[in-house]
Amino acid sequence: MELTVDHFLGLSAALFIIGLMGVLMRRNVLIIFLCVELMVAAVAITFAAFARETNTLDGQTFALFAIAVAAAEAAVGLALILALSRRVRSVDVDEYRTLRD
């Protein structure tokens, strides 16, 4: 048995879907945030795996950019969470319902 790209893709898919389920099933906004980060990282694995398979570095570049953008997203996201929790005094996403109607 050889280590093929399919292994990495499978791992990536598994992590992505675990993250997705976390996003869908948890209510704590911080955990949702963690799961989103997990999804991004999982996608980065896919990029890197394809980069290795096709002998290009583009995939790694994309993964790098994905990490950079995730960092920006984390900064803004955490600031949002902080502001929200300061206002609503909760981290339960179900409490954040000002978007309704």
Binding site: L20, L24, R27, I32, V93, D94, T98, L99, R100, D101
Partner: protein, 676 residues
């Protein structure tokens, strides 16, 4: 000279722009100087052009740029000057210059002085473009341009309601004619694949060389004539011209007597190669022209407004021109056009001078005996009236006589030519009558105006000078047309219409008429002798006929004058009683044959009703109702959809995930080999 052609229309345009942009604030009271100088510059250039064409007999052609290019349709902005154009150029710029000078005095003190002198050169620009265009689309541009300027100038006193209405009437009535003209242009393009009439690929070349079905040409000719009907105020679209007298008098003189209204005649003359092949269309033109002439003259006999009389006279004279076109007397038409421009401009300016001297009084019943107050105006007016009446040896006599002769000699149908000629003679009688009715009522007899308020006086020199010049031309211009049909004027213009040169057989490729084709036609027509003429060639007219016709028309004109003299000077007939005895007939004439009423009743009123119905039922009820219904439906749907927006982030995330699953599933179903 060809490369400077563009300067001729450009100068007035620049003057107009300058007056609108700069003079408006800088020196509004001196705007006339710029405009007059520019038009005068155009006149000088036109003289140069004329000289060159007179010497060389070569048409000048300048292509400035490509205008529109779309598929196989391509039109350039090109200027073209042959003998016909040269004559028109001279006439237009000359009369324009005089009118500009005259208006400098007439419009003095008007609060919108600069505006007047912005529109007037703009009109000159458009008119010059019209006569110099080398294709029908550019003609149409100039055509619409003069229409626009006419609208602006008729409505110059836009605070006066009647002026505004007259402007709108002129514009709308013209639009009907323009519609026909536009259709004609389209038909020309679909038939010939080009709109340019000059050159080897031009329309005229194709007509004469390749031969096009007469049916198509008839339609084209009729459509072009529709345009001419509107612009040149032929029956049944003549109604706008008398109303256009709401504009300032110089405008009436320039636009509604000398230049713009002749644009239709020019168009027909310019299209002579088409018309010549168009068969029955020519007959239609001739009949309409003769009828218009009679119609205008008959109405003019009973009008009391000095400008209106002159205006109906214009309608009548335009009818003569159309008649000339219709009987194939091309040169005569142009000859009459130019001569008419001089004496009719003189008449208008003279009536303007009268009005000016009478403190804006226009009713001739309140004038009389003005001869001694304004002698220059009187003499010039008299000369112009004589010319208009067609008295030997003034310009009007020669041109009108040619037309009547040409009508007599034409034979579309057996005897029709003779009827037309007799009809024209009757009209000439009426013309002489109403012109001298005007003279006697205005300048002779007792002074019927209020001496306390009105102090008639002669106009300033700046106004009388153009009158004198124009009167001089009204006298002397006829010399160019002597002897009839063989004068210098005819020599000069004949190549345009008959492709024949009296000077040089080589120099006949003007106006797209190839020398050989038309020459053959002409020569065959000539060989056929007295019987073998007609619409396809220059009518062959014997000297004897000319002499007879001249004598007859002179007698007729003098009779008309005599009748007027007897009635209005000698009071042999009590006009008031006569009118009351024949009240129906009088009212019929006074109310202009009830044209306006009929139009109001059977066209305008139903249209208004239809518009109101469309507005209330279709627009408000149908279209707006549909829109409101859509709005309501959207509101309802949005209200339902609004429930989707729970505000719960988890639901949104769930929706996104669902979309992802569906998309991936769709990919599998549609693109992958998984299920195949």
């Amino acid at each position: 000279m060809a490369e400077y052609l563009f300067l001729i229309p450009l100068l007035p345009l620049l003057a107009s722009a300058f007056n609108l942009l700069v003079a408006r604030t800088a020196f509004p009271d001196r705007a006339n100087v710029v405009a007059t100088l520019a038009v005068f510059g155009s006149f000088l250039l036109s003289v140069l052009v004329f000289r060159e064409i007179y010497n060389d007999e070569h048409a000048l052609h300048q292509t400035i740029s490509t205008w529109i290019e779309s598929g196989s349709f391509s039109t350039s902005i090109g200027l073209y000057a042959d003998q016909l154009t040269a004559v028109m150029l001279l006439m237009v710029t000359f009369v324009s210059t005089l009118v500009h000078i005259y208006a400098s005095g007439y419009m003095k003190g008007d609060p919108s002085f600069y505006r007047f002198f912005s529109w007037l050169p703009l009109f000159v620009f458009a008119m010059l473009v019209l006569v110099m265009a080398d294709n029908y689309l550019l003609i149409f541009f100039g055509w619409e341009g003069v229409g626009l300027c006419s609208y602006l100038l008729i409505g110059f006193y836009h605070r006066r309601r009647s002026a505004g209405n007259a402007a709108k009437k002129a514009f709308i009535v013209n639009r009907i004619g323009d519609f026909g003209f536009g259709l004609g242009i389209m038909l020309i393009f679909t038939t010939f694949g080009t709109l340019s009439f000059a050159g080897d690929q031009g329309v005229f070349h194709q007509v004469t060389e390749l031969g096009v079905s007469e049916r198509t040409l008839t339609w084209i000719a009729l459509l072009l004539f529709t345009g001419a009907i509107g612009k040149s105020a032929q029956f049944p679209l003549h109604v706008w011209l008398p109303d256009a007298m709401e504009g300032p008098t110089p405008v009436s003189a320039l636009i509604h007597a000398a230049t713009m209204v002749t644009a239709g005649i020019y168009l027909l003359a310019r299209s002579s190669p088409i018309l010549r092949e168009a068969g029955d269309a020519m007959m239609v033109i001739a009949i309409v022209g003769a009828f218009t002439a009679f119609l205008g003259a008959s109405i003019a006999t009973v009008q009391n407004d000095i400008k209106r009389v002159v205006a109906y006279s214009t309608v009548s004279q335009l009818g003569y021109m159309a008649l000339a076109i219709g009987v194939g007397a091309w040169v005569s038409a142009i000859f009459h056009l130019v001569a008419h421009a001089f004496f009719k401009a003189c008449l208008f300016l003279g009536s303007g001078s009268v009005i000016h001297g009478m403190h804006e009084e226009q009713n001739i019943q309140k004038m009389g005996g003005l001869r001694k107050y304004m002698p220059i105006t009187f003499w010039t007016f008299l000369i112009a009236s004589l010319a208009n009446a067609g008295v030997v040896p003034l310009a009007g006599f020669w041109s009108k006589d040619e037309i009547i002769t040409g009508a007599w000699a034409s034979n579309y149908l057996p005897g029709l030519g003779n009827y037309l000629a007799i009809f024209a003679l009757i009209t000439a009688l009426i013309t002489a009558y109403y012109m001298f009715r005007l003279i006697f009522l205005t300048f002779f007899g007792e002074e019927r105006f209020d001496h306390h308020h009105v102090h008639p006086h002669e106009s300033p020199k700046v106004m009388t000078l153009p009158l004198v010049i124009l009167a001089a031309f009204a006298i002397g211009f006829g010399a160019l047309g002597f002897p009839p049909d063989e004068g210098r004027f005819h020599d000069f213009l004949n190549p345009v219409f008959y492709g024949e040169s009296h000077h040089d057989e080589e120099a006949t490729e003007v106006a797209g008429v190839a020398s050989d084709g038309s020459a053959v036609l002409f020569s065959t027509a000539a060989e056929e002798g007295e019987a073998g003429h007609g619409i396809h060639g220059h009518p062959t007219i014997t000297d004897e006929l000319k002499l007879n016709m001249g004598i007859v028309s002179t007698v007729v004109a003098l009779s008309g004058i005599l009748i007027a003299f007897l009635i209005y000077q000698k009071k042999r007939v009590d006009v008031v009683r006569f009118a009351s005895e024949h009240e129906g007939f009088y009212n019929f004439l006074y109310n202009k044959w009830y044209f306006d009423d009929v139009y109001d009743r059977y066209i305008v009123f139903p249209l208004r009703r239809l518009s109101a119905w469309l507005w209330q039922k279709v627009d408000v009820g149908g279209i707006d109702g549909l829109l409101l219904w859509i709005v309501g439906a959207l509101t309802w749907i949005s209200g339902q959809l609004r429930r989707l927006q729970t505000g719960l982030v988890s639901n949104y995330a769930l929706a996104i995930a669902l979309g992802m699953v569906v998309l991936v599933g769709f990919y599998f179903a549609a693109f992958s080999d998984l299920f195949r």
